[in-house]
């Protein structure tokens, strides 16, 4: 199971990669996709929607359950992964890369400090 060190993590099992200072790319972790099982549908928000930190922005639906997706930081949705509509399995196959879900223009990049490091998240995940 992977826990890339260059990412920030939320307790709700999302990861954040920062690009260009204030763009946050968000997806769900390897641990989360493994727990959910085969993902068959990802419901993403509309571009332009403003999200608060901790707000539910969509759902990941697997063959056995559905799980809400929570935004780790506040910001405006600037892009939604167009591949997921036709190939939701990318979230299983490549959770940290091709399976990214949304990009946000962050309101306040300082919020990243509230998130977990790879080590902290690994501890959380492995504790169950």
């Amino acid at each position: 199971m992977e826990f890339p060190k260059d990412l920030k993590y939320s307790k709700e099992h999302e990861w954040v990669r920062v690009e260009d200072g204030d763009t946050a790319i968000i997806g769900i972790t390897d641990f989360a996709q493994d727990e959910l099982g085969d993902i068959v549908f990802v419901e993403a928000p509309k571009v332009g929607r403003d999200l608060k930190a901790g707000e539910s922005f969509g759902v990941a639906e697997s063959v056995k359950t559905v799980s809400d997706l929570y935004s780790p930081v506040a910001g405006q949705v600037i892009e939604v992964n167009p591949e997921l509509e036709g190939s939701p399995e990318l979230v299983n196959e490549s959770p940290f890369d091709k399976g990214w879900i949304i990009k946000l223009k962050m309101e306040d990049p300082k919020e990243l400090e509230n998130l977990l490091s790879a080590q902290d998240y690994r501890n959380l995940a492995q504790k169950g």
Partner: protein
């Protein structure tokens, strides 16, 4: 399952646990004047034969006009249902059906529901239909709630040409939600005027509800209405109270509606005390995941054979809990099966023939009524099997006289439309012979003029 009623001491214990002093206290939210202050006055036990006599006598007190002398439609239409429908749904495999969670033991029921969904989608001009809902009005309420959820908007335009009971049910379902129903007076027009609908819509409008044929029986211009709503971005919900009309008219989906609902009782159902009913519900594929209710899908089993199973269940309450698309956890499986059997017995050409018979009968009746001096058609619009007629005098006494002559001649529209106190809603279908209609016309000419 054993059935053992609660003893007095069981009842005491249960009341003590919930902290109520009496069973009556549990009903105190119901106004006292609406409650029966004493136990039901039911006589003691009777021998079976005496019991049958008792019920026969009670049943004889009802006015039973018989289908061919009933010209009341208003959302519940008289149709001939082939005997084969009741025979087939009485088979125990269908009769005791419940939502089939286990595909391995429910292929027959699932296949029947899949057939029903296929017919429903085809008739409503849609791509996906669910396994059915309680009735047309509750299906419409679910459609309204769904439209608000999909669009993130909260206003729903609903002209008063939508059946008044349907509007009441929508009101009941939505009254505690953040949904505002925008009432639109179009009764004088008889049909929706696209410009008036457009004027009532804005960027806050989630949907516009249009019933066709509408409550007065008139066929709406769904194509123009579909264009009229475009600028606002509101969804179009097409409602059909008489789906037999779909043997001749195209379904709402074919005109661009996003959600289509119908009362399916005309297919395989009866008019017994107003039910049971059948809510038909269909959407475009892009909205399938937002749709309420059960959905049966077709797939292949490990041997490559056709197999049926519930699908997209993650929309539903048993998995999605409070985020489910609806709290409906069931369907009207038996009535859906009856509808599927009735539709399949008719076939495409049979359905069209029945629809033509309805159109012909209603046009004959309207034509004859319009020739009675003092009687006129209230709205001059195209209709299917129902239309509005204005009589010269008070209609209450006229309808009562006709009823005592054994004819249920129509519905007094003054009940819901204060400006239409002299207007009745009359329906004629394939069950009405020329003689039935001529007799009604003669009676009206004698009693009403």
């Amino acid at each position: 399952m054993r059935y053992i009623p609660l003893s007095a001491s069981d009842r005491e214990k249960a009341l003590a646990v919930i902290g109520a002093s009496s069973v009556e206290q549990l009903f105190e939210d119901i106004p006292a004047e609406a409650r029966l202050p004493h136990p039901l006055d039911i006589p003691g036990p009777l021998p079976e034969m005496d019991l049958m006599d008792w019920f026969e006598e009670a049943a004889d007190k009802n006015t039973h006009a018989g289908p061919r002398r009933t010209f009341i439609g208003a959302g519940a239409y008289v149709h001939h249902v082939p005997t084969a429908v009741d025979h087939l749904i009485s088979r125990t495999e269908f009769f005791t059906c419940y939502t089939p969670y286990q595909p391995e033991v429910s292929q027959g029921t699932l296949a029947a529901i899949y057939e029903y969904q296929t017919y429903t989608a085809a008739l409503l001009g849609m791509e996906v239909a669910n396994a059915s809902m309680y009735d047309g009005p509750s299906a419409l309420a679910e459609a309204v709630i769904m439209a608000c959820r999909v669009t993130g908007r909260s206003k729903v335009v609903m002209p008063n040409l939508v059946h008044p009971h349907w509007r009441q049910v929508v009101q009941t379902y939505t009254q505690h939600l953040d949904i505002e129903l925008v009432h639109l007076e179009l009764a004088a027009d008889g049909v929706c005027i696209p410009e008036k609908l457009a004027a009532a819509m804005s960027q806050e409008t989630a949907a516009v509800v249009v019933q066709s044929p509408n409550f007065f029986g008139y066929v709406e211009d769904m194509d123009s209405i579909n264009q009229a709503r475009e600028e606002s971005g509101a969804l179009l919900i097409g409602a059909v109270a008489e789906p037999m009309s779909l043997g001749l008219l195209k379904g709402p989906g074919a005109s661009g509606a996003d959600i289509a609902v119908a009362e399916g009782r005309s297919f395989g159902g009866s008019l017994s005390f107003g039910g049971p009913a059948l809510g038909m519900f269909a959407v475009k594929t892009s909205l399938a995941r937002k749709m309420p209710g059960r959905l049966v899908g077709k797939t292949k089993d490990t041997m490559g054979r056709d197999a049926y199973t519930l699908t997209l269940s993650t929309r539903e309450q048993h998995i999605r809990r409070e985020k489910a698309t609806s709290n409906i956890c069931s369907n009207q499986a038996l009535m859906a099966t009856a509808a599927a059997i009735h539709i399949s017995l008719l076939g495409a050409s049979g359905l069209r023939e029945v629809a033509v018979a309805n159109l012909t009968a209603a046009n004959y009746l309207a034509g004859r009524l319009a020739r009675i001096a003092g009687v006129k058609l209230a709205h001059d619009k195209p209709f299917f099997n129902e239309f509005t007629v204005t009589l010269p005098g008070d209609i209450g006494p006229v309808l009562a006289k006709l009823a005592s002559a054994g004819y249920l001649a129509g519905v007094d529209l003054g009940r819901w439309y204060p400006d239409m106190k002299k207007t009745i809603l009359i329906s004629a279908t394939e069950v009405h012979s020329k003689k039935n209609m001529d007799d009604l016309v003669d009676l009206i000419a004698r009693e009403a003029v």
